[in-house]
Amino acid sequence: MPISTFMGLHTSLRGLLAEQRALDVTSHNIANANTLGYSRQEAQLQATDALFEAGSGQLGTGVDVMAYKRIRDSFLDLQYRTQAMQVGAGTTRAGALDQAELRLGEPGDNGIAARLNSFWSSWSDFANTPDSGAARQSLIGDATTLASAVNALDDSLQTVAGQAAAKLAALTGAGGELQQIAGELAGINGAIRDAQSVGSQPNDLFDRRDLLLDKLAGFAQVSVVGDGAGSIRVTLGGAAAPLVDGATLTWPPPAMTSPGGTIGALMDLSSPTGTLASYRGEIATFAQALTTQVNAIYQPAAAADFFAYDAGTARLSVNPAVTAATVRAGAGAAGDNSAAIALSELRGKSGGPDDLYARLVTRIGTEVADARRGASNANVLSNSIEDRRQSAAGVSLDEEMTNLIRFQRGYQAAARAMSATDMLLDTLINRTGRVGL
C-alpha cells in the first residue's frame, strides 16, 4: 500500500498534540502541588499503530496519549487508614485524660493530698488542745474543705465525661461531620460510576474519595470493598451493614461493634463503664474508705459519725451534727484526746485514705502517659506512612519542572519536524516541474 505524501505532517501533528497534553498534565500537577489528597498524574504516551509498507516493513505513525494515569499505592492507603484510626483514638483519649489529670492538681498545694494532710494535722492540733475553739474551728474547716475537694474532683471528672458525650453526639448526630462525609462519599460514588460507565477515569474524584475515606478512618475503623464497577462499599466500626453502599447512604449509621478511632474513644470516655467512670469509682472507694475509717474511730468516742458518704449521689459531707461546738477529741473528760490521736495516726497509713488516693493519682498518671505515648507513636507511624504515600503520589516541583522542559522541547522538536515536512512539500509542490520556467 502506498503511503500518503502528507503522512509526515500527521506524524508531527500527533507529536505536537501528545506533547501538549503531557504539558497540560504537568501544569495540572503543579497547580495541585499543595492540594490535600491530590495524587500526581501522568500522561501515558504510546506509539500509534504502524503502517505496513510492502517490502520494507512497518512505518511508525507517531504517538498518542493512551491514558492519564493516577499514581497511587492503594496498599499504603490501607496502612494509613489503620494508623489514622489509632491517631484519632489516641489523640481523643489523651486529650480527655489530660483534662482529668489537670483537675487532680497533683502534685501541688491545692490537690486532695494536701487537703488530707491539713485534715490529719488538724486532728493532731485538736489532740494537743482539745478545748481550743481555734483548733476545733480549723478542724471542721479542714474537714469541710476536704469533703468539697473530693466532691469537686468527682464533678469535674463527670464534666469531662459529659464533654465527651456531647462531642460524640455532635460527631455522629444528624447533620454532624460523619453524616456529611458519608453523604459526600455516596455522592462521589455515584459520580465515579457514571464516569466509568462511559469509559473515563475520574482521577480527581478518586482523590476526593480517598481523602474522605482518610477522614472517616480517623473517626472509626473503616473497611472498604470495591464492587468492580468503580463504586465502593464502606463499613464503619465493624457494623453488620454498610454505611455507604454505592450511592446509597444508610442513616442513622448501623450499630458499630468495634468502633475504634475518635468515636471509639469518645464512646469509652462517656460510657458508664468507661475509663473516666472507673476513675470516679476509685474516688468513690477512696471517699467510702475515708468515711468508714474516720467514723470507726470517731463514732465510739462521740456517739456520732464524722463523715457521711452518699454513694448514690457520690457526695462526701461532714455530718451536720458535728460542729466546732460539738466535735470531740475523746469519749472522756475535756482533756481526753485519745480519739483525736488515733485519727491523726490515720495519716499515711498503709491501705488508708492517703494510700488509696496516691494509687488513684498514680493510675491516672500512668494512663495519661500511656495515652499520650500511644497518640504520639500513632502520629509518628502515620507520618512515616504519609511520607511513603507522598513519596509515591505527591508532586515534586523539581520533577515537574524537568518534565516541563522535556515536553516543551518535545513540542518544539515536533514543530521543527513539521516544518521540515513542510519544506519537503514546498519543494515538491512549488518547485517541481518548473524546469526552464
Binding site: 502541588a33 499543595n34 489530660d98 489529670e101 489537670l102 487532680l104 497533683e106 502534685p107 493530698a113 494536701a114 488530707l116 494532710n117 490529719w120 494535722s121 493532731s124 492540733d125 489532740a127 494537743n128 488542745t129 482539745p130 478545748d131 475523746g330 472522756g332 473528760a333 475535756a334 482533756g335 481526753d336 484526746n337 485519745s338 490521736i341 491523726s344 495516726e345 495519716r347 499515711g348 492517703d354 488516693y357 496516691a358 493519682v361 498514680t362 493510675r363 491516672i364 498518671g365 500512668t366 495519661v368 502517659a369 499520650r372 507520618n383 504519609e386 507522598q390 513519596s391 509515591a392 505527591g394 508532586v395 515534586s396 516541583l397 523539581d398 520533577e399 519542572m401 524537568t402 522542559i405
Partner: protein, 301 residues
C-alpha cells in the same frame, strides 16, 4: 537501588513537624526551669509522683510530730515547775515539823507552826492547780477542772492520761495526776500528811508528840520522795521528748532531701538541656529555611 522520591509537600511537612517537636521539648524544659520542679503532673512520671505524694505526707506528719513534741515539752516544763514549788513546800513543812517536834517548843509556838503548815497546804493546792495554756496540769483529762479547791482536800480531777503523739504509733503520757502526788482526802499522801502534822502540833498529847517525832517524819519524807520520784519521771519524759525531737528533725531533713530528689529539677542539667535544644532549634530553623526555599525554579532561565 533508587533513592525514594522526595516531594515538595513531604519536605515542608517534615520541616514543620521537626520544628514542632523541638519547640515542644523546649517548652517542657522552660516549664521545668520556671517551676524548678521535675514533676508538675502525674503523667510526667507516675511512679515518682506517687512516691512524692507519700514523701510529702510523711514530711507533713514528721512536722506535726515535732509540733506535738514541742507542745508536750511545754506541758512537762510547766508540770516540773509546779511540782518543784510543791516540793519546796514539802521541804519547808519538814523543817517546820522538825522545829515543832522539838520538845522545847511551847504550845503557842506549836500552834503558830501548825498555822503555817495550814497555809502551806493551801499553797500546795494552789501550785497543784497550775495550768498550761489554760488547761489544768494535774487534773487528769479533766483539764477544765481545778483539781483542788480550798474548802476540801478532795481531788476533783479524774484518773485519765494525757498523751501526745510523737511518732507513728508512739504516744507519750505527759501528765501527772494530783491524786498521785498531793492525794485525795485521807489517803496518806502529802495533803493528808500535812493535815496530820498540823493536828498533832495542835493536839499536844504525849501520843501526838510521839507521832510528830516518829510517823510524821517518816510520812513527810515518803511524800518528798514521791514528789522527787514524780519529778524524775517528768524529767525522763522531757528527755525522751527532746531526744524524739532531735530524731524527728533528722528524719525531717532526710525526707525533705528525698522529696527534693524526687520532685525537684536538676537545674544544671536542665539549663544544659535548654541550651542544647536552643542550638538544635536554631539549626533546624536555618536548615528548614534553606531547604524549603530551594527549588529547580531558582536555576531555570
Amino acid at each position: 537501588m533508587t533513592s525514594p522520591r522526595i516531594t515538595t509537600s513531604m519536605i515542608s511537612r517534615n520541616v514543620l513537624a521537626d520544628l514542632n517537636d523541638v519547640s515542644a521539648r523546649m517548652s517542657e524544659t522552660q516549664r521545668k526551669m520556671a517551676t524548678g520542679k521535675e514533676l508538675t503532673r502525674p503523667s510526667d512520671d507516675p511512679f515518682a509522683v506517687g512516691r512524692a505524694l507519700a514523701l510529702r505526707t510523711e514530711l507533713e506528719g514528721v512536722g506535726q510530730y515535732r509540733r506535738n513534741a514541742a507542745e508536750a515539752e511545754g506541758w512537762t516544763a510547766a508540770s516540773d515547775t509546779a511540782l518543784g514549788a510543791v516540793t519546796d513546800i514539802a521541804q519547808r513543812a519538814r523543817e517546820l515539823l522538825l522545829r515543832g517536834a522539838n520538845g522545847t517548843a511551847s504550845s503557842s509556838q506549836r500552834a503558830a507552826i501548825a498555822e503555817e503548815i495550814d497555809q502551806l497546804v493551801d499553797a500546795a493546792k494552789q501550785d497543784a492547780n497550775a495550768t498550761h495554756a489554760g488547761r489544768s496540769l494535774f487534773a487528769g483529762t479533766a483539764t477544765d477542772v481545778k483539781p483542788y479547791n480550798m474548802a476540801s482536800d478532795a481531788y476533783a480531777g479524774d484518773g485519765g492520761d494525757i498523751a501526745r503523739s510523737i511518732g507513728p504509733g508512739v504516744s507519750v503520757v505527759v501528765n501527772v495526776r494530783g491524786s498521785d502526788t498531793l492525794g485525795n482526802g485521807a489517803d496518806g499522801k502529802l495533803l493528808n500528811v500535812l493535815r496530820d502534822i498540823a493536828a498533832h502540833l495542835r493536839g499536844g498529847t504525849p501520843a501526838d508528840q510521839a507521832a510528830l517525832t516518829s510517823t510524821d517524819i517518816v510520812a513527810i519524807d515518803r511524800s518528798i520522795d514521791d514528789l522527787l520520784g514524780m519529778r524524775a519521771q517528768i524529767g525522763a519524759t522531757a528527755n525522751r521528748l527532746s531526744a524524739a525531737d532531735d530524731r524527728l528533725a533528722e528524719l525531717e531533713e532526710g525526707v525533705r532531701g528525698l522529696l527534693s530528689k524526687t520532685e525537684d529539677a536538676d537545674m544544671a542539667a536542665t539549663l544544659i538541656d535548654y541550651s542544647t535544644q536552643q542550638a538544635v532549634y536554631q539549626s533546624a530553623l536555618r536548615a528548614g529555611a534553606g531547604i524549603v526555599q530551594a527549588s529547580l525554579l531558582d536555576f531555570l532561565r
